[in-house]
Every structure is written in structure tokens, then in C-alpha cells.
């Protein structure tokens, strides 16, 4: 099977001796929406840096859409679009010119690039700013400009390195919709993010990297299924004085109107509600205490497996 991304035994040791990647293997299927997660310094940015030639690998191989980045450099790059964390465009250049230049670097002449650029600038709400210098754009607009720039050559694999960092909720939701749209059109997307809610909502498959090694790699659903305990927070209709005893479940009462219940894998919420009804406790709403993926992520990367 041909993958959108195929990484084999990838190692990177920096000049100062720091071993950022210890021989990772990773495959991402074509059309996937994939999350690469890990704490700061885990090796995510090094991996992305190697994919887009900003970091020289120490050993191993990388293929983008079946093209080896060493031997089929041009074709691999042609199929790859990257949205970096930092605003790495010329701040003195006009918004539209940044996209024209990027298209040119990919061998796309201005006449062919112009309608594409118009499409992406309009779709991302930047068309009115096309003649403004990029430094005059707001943070959210700059972030969208990075996405437009990564798409101007219409890559088959799009890598986004924390694309929604520092972006307000409304804009973040807008970006999610846009990314889902282009993923539905066939573009494979790899996302790194610190917002695990984002990864859980968008990504079908997840890989967690820590200390330069892949420590989990599976579908988001399977990964979440491996979570042994989920803490639910129940908002109560009326205050209670003491923690109700529910056999087999651990409960806590942070305040008189809030009850926390730990539910292990295999246990049922129906039992919890039945017991609460028996105690005359009425629940008006309920949510998980932390994002489920976040709970799993923290337990895996801290070495504290539940």
C-alpha cells in the first residue's frame, strides 16, 4: 500500500549531542486526518523539520506520497504543504505577492497561480487584505495566510504545526471547518496541536511521541477505548451535604452543587444514575472532567499509566 507519509527508522541527533528522534517508524494513510501529539521537546517539530528539509536527518528514510525525500526531492516537495508554527513570511511583502512567490517557487506561473490565489484568499477571508503588507495583518489573519500559502500548490499532504495556537475560539472553529472540507476533498492532513480537544474532534488516527519515540499509534477511537478511567462531573439540581455512597464507584464533592464520579472501563453510567436517584440526588447536566484524549496523553507522557 502506498502511504501519504512513510517514515522508517528516522533518527536525529543534533550537534550538541541531543538525540531528538531515536529511530521512529510512522505511516499515515492517504486521505487520513492524523494527529501527531507530544509534549514540548518530544520530537514533533524535528520530525516536521525533516519532512520539509529544514532539519537534516541523521539516518532513516522518509517518503511523501511514495516519493523519497532524498532521491525524489522535487516530487516529494511538490506533494507537500507545510503550515509552520511561526510566521515565516516576508513581513514587508504584500499578502498576495507572498502567495504568488510561493507558487513561483513551486514552478507555477503567475497566470496559473492568480485564480488559485484568489480562491484561497477569498475562502480564508483575506481577499480584502490582498494588497496590504503582511505585517499589517492581525494574528489570526497571518495564521490563515500561512494556510493559504501552504495550499497554493495544491499539495496532497498538508502538515499543520499547531495551526490554531493563539487563535480565538470562533476562528479556530472556522479553521476546523476549512480543514475538514479540504480533507473531505482528498487532502491528507497531519496536525500537531496542544489542544487535544482539537485532535479528538478532527483526527481519525493519532500518534503520540515522547522523548523521541512513538509511544502510541492507533485510531483515535481505539486509543480512547484504552482509557481505563473517566471522571464525570455532574451538576446537581440541589445542594447536598455529604458524598452519596455508590458501591463500586469513587465519588467526590468539590462543592455542594457538584459531584465527581470516577467510572472505570466496563462500568455503566446507568448504575450511577440509578444509585443517585435512590439517594434523591438530581443531576441537571454532566461532562467529562478533562478532555479524554488529554487525560490519556498526560498519563502516557508522564509515565503514569492508569
Amino acid at each position: 500500500m502506498s502511504y501519504a507519509l512513510e517514515i522508517n527508522s528516522l533518527k536525529k541527533t543534533y550537534d550538541n549531542g541531543f538525540e531528538a528522534l531515536k529511530g521512529i517508524d510512522l505511516t499515515v494513510e492517504k486521505g487520513d486526518f492524523f494527529a501527531l501529539l507530544g509534549p514540548n521537546g518530544a520530537g514533533k517539530s524535528t520530525t516536521i523539520g525533516i519532512l520539509c528539509s529544514l532539519v537534516n536527518k541523521s539516518s532513516g528514510s522518509v517518503k511523501v506520497m511514495g516519493y523519497d525525500i532524498d532521491h525524489d526531492f522535487g516530487m516529494a516537495k511538490r506533494h507537500l504543504g507545510v503550515v509552520p508554527q511561526e510566521f515565516n513570511f516576508n513581513q514587508f511583502e504584500k499578502t498576495q505577492n507572498i502567495l504568488i512567490n510561493t507558487a513561483g517557487y513551486h514552478g507555477i506561473p503567475r497566470a496559473e497561480a492568480t485564480p488559485r490565489i484568489e480562491h484561497y484568499l477569498k475562502r480564508l477571508g483575506l481577499w480584502d487584505k490582498r494588497d496590504n503588507p503582511s505585517r499589517a495583518l492581525s494574528g489570526g489573519m497571518k495564521r490563515r495566510l500561512l494556510i493559504a500559502r501552504a495550499l497554493v500548490h495544491q499539495p496532497d499532504l498538508l502538515i499543520l504545526d499547531e495551526p490554531t495556537a493563539g487563535v480565538d475560539i470562533e476562528l479556530r472553529r472556522g479553521m476546523w471547518d476549512f480543514l475538514t472540507e479540504i480533507n473531505n476533498q482528498g487532502t491528507t492532513i497531519i496536525l500537531t496541536t496542544h489542544y487535544l480537544e482539537e485532535a479528538e474532534a478532527l483526527c481519525r488516527n493519532v500518534s503520540i511521541i515522547n522523548h523521541g519515540e512513538i509511544i502510541a499509534n492507533s485510531s483515535t477511537r481505539d486509543l480512547l477505548a484504552s482509557l481505563h478511567t473517566v471522571t464525570f462531573v455532574c451538576d446537581l439540581a440541589a445542594p447536598i451535604d455529604s458524598v452519596p455512597v455508590i458501591e463500586g464507584y469513587e465519588c467526590a464533592l468539590p462543592d455542594a452543587m457538584t459531584l465527581e464520579v470516577e467510572v472505570d472501563k466496563g462500568q455503566s453510567l446507568n448504575e450511577v444514575f440509578a444509585a443517585l436517584s435512590a439517594h434523591q440526588v438530581s443531576v441537571t447536566s454532566m461532562r467529562t472532567k478533562t478532555n479524554r484524549l488529554e487525560e490519556l496523553f498526560v498519563s502516557m507522557t508522564s509515565g503514569d499509566s492508569k
Binding site: V82, F89, I108
Partner: protein
């Protein structure tokens, strides 16, 4: 757009490196013309002052040099001085600026070959050198009469010099880590070498020892070869000048390409 369609369209565009090359050159030319107050005006003012002070005021007392009045004698060297400093400064500052602002990454993540990147920057440097060279030449006509002795030598030496110093500027830009690093070489190396490179005097005036030392200065060959093209006189053999210029250009090109291939200064 599906992958298959994209590949077909990419092929239809022709040679992608040619489009990329044109893009870099257009960007470079737009950069130095947009900041013309910084790039075009200073050399025009500086050279006009040289013409007035060294040519008109001091030159009258000096009389002739190499069989020409002093003003006519120094004009070729001053034009070359402009070509050297502008080609070098354009590429070193532009490439370092792209590194500093991190937008060099736009090129590094694209399919452009290293040689295309290099040629694009060098062409930008040559374009600015030629622009400024023409401006200085036009200004010199207000002070002296220039009769071109050998147009082929004038054009070829100008282009070779601009290419060589653009390449050297590129190498400087690759190694530069701070803005100071792109001004150190022009200030402490290029300017002294230019002054000692026979712009204002014939090396025949120097004692034998220092005349021998002067021949280690590559700018001496540039200035004299260009002076031959304009006036028909030179302190050194034209063949030597071409040989040294071409050799240095080839060496600088190989070094620059290798630096890019190794990712020096731009990849970790």
C-alpha cells in the same frame, strides 16, 4: 484537484526551476527598487563626491596619470567600485534578511534546486550592480568625456565582476548570524582592497615590493581590466585578469553550491 490532474498541470507549466528562477529574480529586483533611497541614491551621491573632490578639485593639481587626465583615469575604477559594493551588498543583505525573517524557508520547503536559488540571488545582485553602474557612468559624463575603447571588455568585466562579488556576498550571507556580520566584510575588507586596487593610482607608482603585494589583490585585476575597456590602458595583462576573475568565480560558485547543499546557516 486530484493528484493526477496536478501532475499533468505541473508538467504543462514547463520547467519549474525556470519559473522559480524568474520568481526569485523578480522578487530581488522589486526589493532593491522598492528601497531605492537606500540602494540607488547613496552610491550616486558618494560617487558624485568622489568625482568632485578627487577628480575636479585634487585631480587638477595631479595632472595626468597613465596618459589621461586624472578625472578620466579614476572614473573606470569608481564605476567598478560601485559594481563591487552593490553586487556584494545586495546578495549578502537580501539572503541574510531572508534567513533572519525565516522566509528563506519558503524556498527550502519548495522543490527548487539549490542552484536555482543561488542563480536567482546572483542575478538579483548583478541586476543591482548594473543599475548602479549605469547611474554612476551617467553621472561621470557630467565631469569627463568617456570614449569606450573595447565594449566587449567593458560588458564582460562588468558582468564577471558582478557575478563574482554576488557569489561572495551570498557566501557571506550564508555564514552571517547577525546584521553586523554582513557589514564587516564590505567595511574591513572590500573597501580597503578597492582603495588599494588601483582605483586612484597606477601601481607603477608603487615601489617594486608593494607593487608585487598589490598583485595579490583581486580588485586590482577588476579595475585595470575595466579601465582597459574604457581607456585602453591597464597595469596588468588582460589575459591574467580574465583568468583570475573566471577562476575565482568558479571557486566561489562551487563553494556557494556546496554550502547550500549542506544547509549551512539555514538547516539544523
Amino acid at each position: 484537484m486530484s493528484l493526477a490532474n496536478y501532475e499533468e498541470k505541473a508538467t504543462d507549466f514547463g520547467n519549474p526551476n525556470w519559473v522559480a528562477y524568474q520568481t526569485i529574480v523578480r522578487t530581488e529586483v522589486r526589493r532593491f527598487t522598492r528601497i531605492w533611497v537606500q540602494t540607488m541614491i547613496p552610491p550616486a551621491i558618494t560617487m558624485t563626491l568622489y568625482f568632485i573632490i578627487f577628480g575636479s578639485l585634487i585631480g587638477r593639481r595631479i595632472g595626468e596619470m597613465g596618459g589621461f587626465d586624472y578625472m578620466a583615469y579614476i572614473v573606470p575604477g569608481l564605476i567598478m567600485m560601485s559594481v563591487i559594493t552593490n553586487s556584494y551588498a545586495n546578495v549578502s543583505s537580501s539572503f541574510f534578511g531572508a534567513k533572519f525573517g525565516k522566509f528563506i524557508e519558503e524556498m527550502l520547503v519548495s522543490p527548487i534546486s539549490n542552484q536555482t536559488i543561488l542563480l536567482g540571488y546572483v542575478t538579483g545582485g548583478v541586476a543591482r550592480a548594473v543599475f548602479v553602474g549605469i547611474i554612476v557612468t551617467i553621472l561621470s559624463l557630467f565631469f569627463t568625456h568617456l570614449a569606450i575603447h573595447n565594449i566587449l571588455a567593458v560588458v564582460s568585466i562588468t558582468l564577471l565582476t558582478a557575478v563574482l562579488f554576488s557569489l561572495l556576498g551570498f557566501i557571506n550571507g550564508v555564514y552571517a548570524k547577525r546584521f553586523d556580520d554582513v557589514s564587516i566584510v564590505p567595511t574591513f575588507v572590500l573597501t580597503p582592497l578597492t582603495y588599494l586596487g588601483g582605483v586612484f593610482f597606477s601601481i607603477d607608482l608603487l615601489p617594486d615590493f608593494w607593487a608585487g603585494v598589490a598583485q595579490l589583490n583581486p580588485i586590482l585585476y577588476v579595475v585595470n581590466a575595466f579601465r582597459f575597456g574604457i581607456l585602453g590602458v591597464s597595469d596588468i595583462s588582460l589575459g591574467w585578469a580574465y583568468g583570475i576573475l573566471i577562476s575565482m568565480t568558479v571557486v566561489a560558485y562551487v563553494i556557494a553550491v556546496r554550502l547550500l547543499a549542506n544547509g549551512a546557516g539555514v538547516r539544523s
